[in-house]
């Protein structure tokens, strides 16, 4: 009951004229960003973050969350109309969305995607509301030792569960952590890694600079290289009759949708997993449990519904650990976390006690954002068809200008703009060579917390390293982290062992 009262208060915040406008603006911007091939929620949030200085901090976070939400809806648009996923999270939507569009059912596919996103969003927001307060209460017991163990666990999930090359993942985590130590040592206050006394490095490397570089400039370079020929836009028309027919068909898929939502929510909470694997898993399960699995990939509407519920649910799921524990569940939420810290709203359990208005305002704004997104999405479909015809050079020019100016604005130093260009090129090359970028960004955001909690614990315990395992909660997290780290080693060892036996047969 107390939760409902808090949520009610939250609605009073999120339904204020300014915040309502912010949600509508954010969702619309997010829809367009998501719909553009190559740009997803993480790119949108990185590029738009410097522009959010224009509203107060709490509204800025609501705006960014709304963009995140809108981009999740928008990703399906180019998956269906172009056959190119608007963001990696919408890959699975192309499997059946594209064939449907080629059969002239683009409108139906888009309606299905929007409705499924709405269902996934709604179920996961309810789950979020239920879990948020208890998880924050649990996290109140955390000391620096638990914080360190939890951050370590977050990184090891990339090694144990992430699909990328293990060595490359470790390299990227270390690189992010080392970059986070640039500037002043947080315990002794001495400058370190300032590279020959360059004054620009004294204030450290902002997560925003890395994010704009990697997800703004780097993404543009990547898209330029891969988008050799202009793709064909399939026209889509939406009539009320189609809308009714679509809703009727989707109404029969509650099993798929609720499965996708729960799956997405829990997979989304893991830093290494997130919306892309969640949507692929949901697609796989829908196909396996279907009565007619052979129609999947040929334009089965269920193949659009399943991944779209999952990716929206996952985006909400990844907000949960970010807000309650201060550990982001995805690169986009890592940027939200960085933004919140920048504005003095430090995520974690204390936020629920100190800033309940903000926390519940944000949670309730997810409800309004979800509702706004489904309506705006369906209403603006003709506009998307038009916008997708926009030549890439125009989009590219706008993004580059926003990256330059947005990189300059927060610190007002040209040093940061140069760093953005360098990170952009480096990020592009690393991505080309299959180095995962999400752990890099996450590590830069979490680095200060990890080092601070590690050294605080050791100072408090007079240098006793065992302190991390002696505390039950932190010991449990460390054990899990070790497991995730050892798992790929065991797998690799078994594989070589099997290969050694094989020739003898």
């Amino acid at each position: 009951m107390e939760m409902l009262a808090l949520l009610g208060d939250g609605f009073a915040t999120s339904l204020s004229p300014l915040n309502l406008m912010v949600v509508l603006l954010g969702v619309t911007a997010g829809l367009f960003i998501g719909a553009m091939p190559g740009l997803g929620s993480v790119n949108g949030v990185a590029i738009v973050l410097p522009l959010t200085f224009i509203v107060p901090p709490s509204s800025a976070i609501i705006l960014l969350a709304a963009i995140y939400y809108g981009a999740m809806y928008g990703g399906a648009v180019s998956s269906v109309l172009l056959g190119i996923p608007g963001a990696s999270t919408a890959v699975a939507t192309t499997f059946d969305g594209r064939p449907m569009a080629q059969q002239g059912k683009a409108g139906l596919a888009l309606i299905a995607a929007a409705t499924a996103s709405f269902v996934g969003g709604t179920i996961s927001v309810v789950l979020f509301t239920l879990f948020a307060a208890p998880l924050a209460d649990l996290a109140l017991a955390f000391g620096p030792a638990e914080e360190f163990a939890l951050v370590l666990l977050a990184f090891t999930t990339f090694v144990g569960l992430g699909g990328d090359d293990k060595l490359k993942t470790v390299v990227m985590i270390c690189l992010g952590l080392v970059l986070s130590t640039v500037g002043l040592d947080l315990i002794s206050g001495q400058p370190r890694l300032i590279f020959g006394d360059m004054p620009g490095f004294y204030s450290g490397i902002s997560f925003l600079v890395l994010a704009i570089g990697v997800y703004g400039i780097g993404e543009i370079l990547y898209t330029i290289e891969t988008s050799k020929t202009a793709p064909q836009v399939t026209p889509a028309k939406i009539t009320f009759r189609e809308l009714g027919a679509g809703l009727k068909r989707i109404n029969k898929m509650w099993k798929t949708m609720s499965l996708g939502s729960f799956l997405g929510f829990f997979v989304g909470m893991l830093p290494a997993a997130g919306a892309t694997p969640a949507s692929l898993m949901a697609y796989g399960i829908a196909k396996q449990t279907s009565k007619e699995p052979e129609t999947f990939g040929k334009g089965n509407i269920e193949g659009v519904v399943a991944p779209e519920t999952a990716n929206n649910a996952a985006s909400t799921g990844s907000l949960l650990p970010m807000l309650t524990l201060g550990i982001p569940g995805s690169p986009t939420t890592a940027l939200l976390l960085g933004g919140m810290v920048m504005w003095g709203l430090v995520p974690g359990p204390m936020l629920f006690i100190e800033q309940p208005d903000f926390v519940w305002g944000l949670i309730s704004s997810l409800y309004t954002a979800n509702f706004a997104a489904v309506l705006i999405n369906i209403a603006l479909i003709p506009l998307f068809v038009w916008a997708l015809r926009m030549p890439f050079t125009v989009l590219c020019a706008i993004v580059i200008v926003l990256c330059i100016v947005g990189g300059f604005a927060p610190s007002q130093k040209m040093h940061d703009v140069w760093l953005i260009a360098a990170f952009g090129v480096a990020g592009y090359l690393l991505r080309k060579a299959d180095y995962p970028l999400a752990p890099l960004v996450l590590a830069l955001v979490l680095g200060p917390l990890m080092e601070k909690s590690f050294r605080q614990t050791l100072i408090a315990e007079q240098g006793n390293v065992l302190a991390f395992i002696e505390r039950p909660l932190s010991g449990f997290f460390i054990a899990l982290a070790v497991l995730f780290f050892v798992l790929p080693l065991v797998q690799a060892w078994r594989r070589t062992a099997r290969r050694a036996i094989a020739p003898a047969e």
Binding site: R192, A421, A433
Partner: protein, 162 residues
């Protein structure tokens, strides 16, 4: 292209070594009196792990069955280099001729000369962008963009909005 993979792994190794060298300015060992590692320890040892892993990636690329992860479409090299070059030139010009001239020049070059778009599109975007930037950043947020030698031209505008 295994060469590119090796170059990138080698570059990461060099970068790690460079980080380690800089990290040794602060104590990298165990601090007896305070307990816990010194200020340079975190970057030093993490860079060492990075160096070793990148070394592993490099060594792996010499294995007989090594597969390249870096692929590149050579026909796209030119547009890519053009964008990088124009980005670098634009950033370099900002402190000298000011953001408004540099960005307008970039947009004009990129849309009209490089992109080959029509005059209507080029001019509307090229002219609308600085106006938006001025009102958004300078008039509303009070964040002054660098103006370089064009600074005096903005005095009347400052007088109007501040």
């Amino acid at each position: 292209m295994l060469v590119a993979d090796r170059l990138i792994a080698g570059a990461i190794m060099a970068l790690s070594a460079y980080f380690m060298w800089h990290a040794t300015v602060l104590p990298i060992g165990w601090e007896g009196e305070t307990g816990g590692p010194g200020g340079g320890a975190f970057p030093f040892w993490l860079s060492l792990i990075m160096l070793l892993c990148a070394g592993g990636i490099l060594a792996r690329s010499f294995a007989a069955d090594a597969k390249a992860s870096f692929f590149f479409d050579r026909t796209m090299l030119r547009p890519l280099l053009m964008v990088v070059a124009s980005l670098v030139i634009t950033i370099a010009l900002i402190p000298i001729v000011g953001a408004y001239v540099a960005i307008v020049a970039f947009l004009f070059w990129y849309l009209r000369i490089y992109g080959g778009h029509g005059w209507t599109l080029t001019m509307s975007l090229t002219l609308a962008t600085p106006v938006f930037l001025f009102f958004f950043f300078e008039a509303t947020l009070k964040i002054l963009l660098p103006k370089g030698i064009t600074e005096p031209l903005f005095f009347p505008l400052y007088a109007m909005f501040f």
